[in-house]
């Protein structure tokens, strides 16, 4: 496992999935997405993986991040939050992402889902 901490997020890279936790009150734009994407390209190369977005904190993001520069080998996205508000937001986000998309209330459930792909 590789672990990175940037000024706006924490990235935990595992063989089959990556866990990303964005810091509180970050304005997440294409620029931040590009920094994460570079780490993912470098770690996974052409290998498939699942992204787990651990929404511990509130932050704002642009819907553009779903539309631009998605990696082909990212096979799915799991949103993790125990908050109903985050779940409602995820339902709105779902159509923006054209691949497998789901939500869990615990990180363990999301890891188990990611592992079930491989």
């Amino acid at each position: 496992m590789e672990h990175y901490v940037t000024e706006f997020c924490e990235i935990e890279l595992y063989t089959q999935y990556v866990i990303i936790t964005i810091n509180e009150d970050v304005n997440f734009t294409l620029n931040e997405a590009s920094i994460i994407r570079d780490k993912l390209r470098s770690y996974y190369k052409s290998n498939d993986f699942i992204m787990i977005s651990h929404r511990k904190y509130h932050y704002d993001f642009s819907s553009e991040v779903y539309k631009k520069g998605q990696l082909n080998n990212m096979k799915g996205l799991a949103i993790v939050s125990s908050s109903d508000t985050e779940r409602d937001k995820a339902i709105i986000e779902q159509p923006l992402y054209g691949k497998s998309f789901t939500f869990f209330s615990t990180i363990e459930e999301a890891k188990s889902w990611a592992e079930s792909f491989f």
Partner: protein
Amino acid sequence: MKIYTLKAKQNLPISIEKAWEFLSNPKNLKTITPDYMGFTILSGADRKMYPGQIIQYIVTPIGNIKNKWVTEITHVRDGEYFVDEQRFGPYALWHHKHFLKEIPGGVEMEDIINYKVPFGLLGQLVHPFIVQPKLKEVFEYREKKLKELFGVLHTKNNHQIIFE
């Protein structure tokens, strides 16, 4: 005598245990049925599903015409399939098979329904204009609700509703 077939498939990003728990519980039918249909269970849904279980519902599919529907769960294999058959209700025949299969990332849910409309030739004449569109609407609603509840599992054929 025309027997119609409806085939529906949807992939869900959940475990087979979670899918079975939700889909085999008749109480959840209300959640995945359009509100305007006024789906109400009258009796029979108070136990875990078993062969021979009789479930009575009221549905209002068109206008304000309430229909009593009695179905029997005729076959159950935990985590794999169950079958419900109409014993009394609006169709001349209703035989609904629900299959679940584990696939990478979740489960494939498949429904195969063989049904016959009442009123002979008249029923067959109105089928393409009333019955088929209504069934399509009900299954599309179910698909949307299941996406909201569980998400999407993307594969080449991750969802379909076909009439034969």
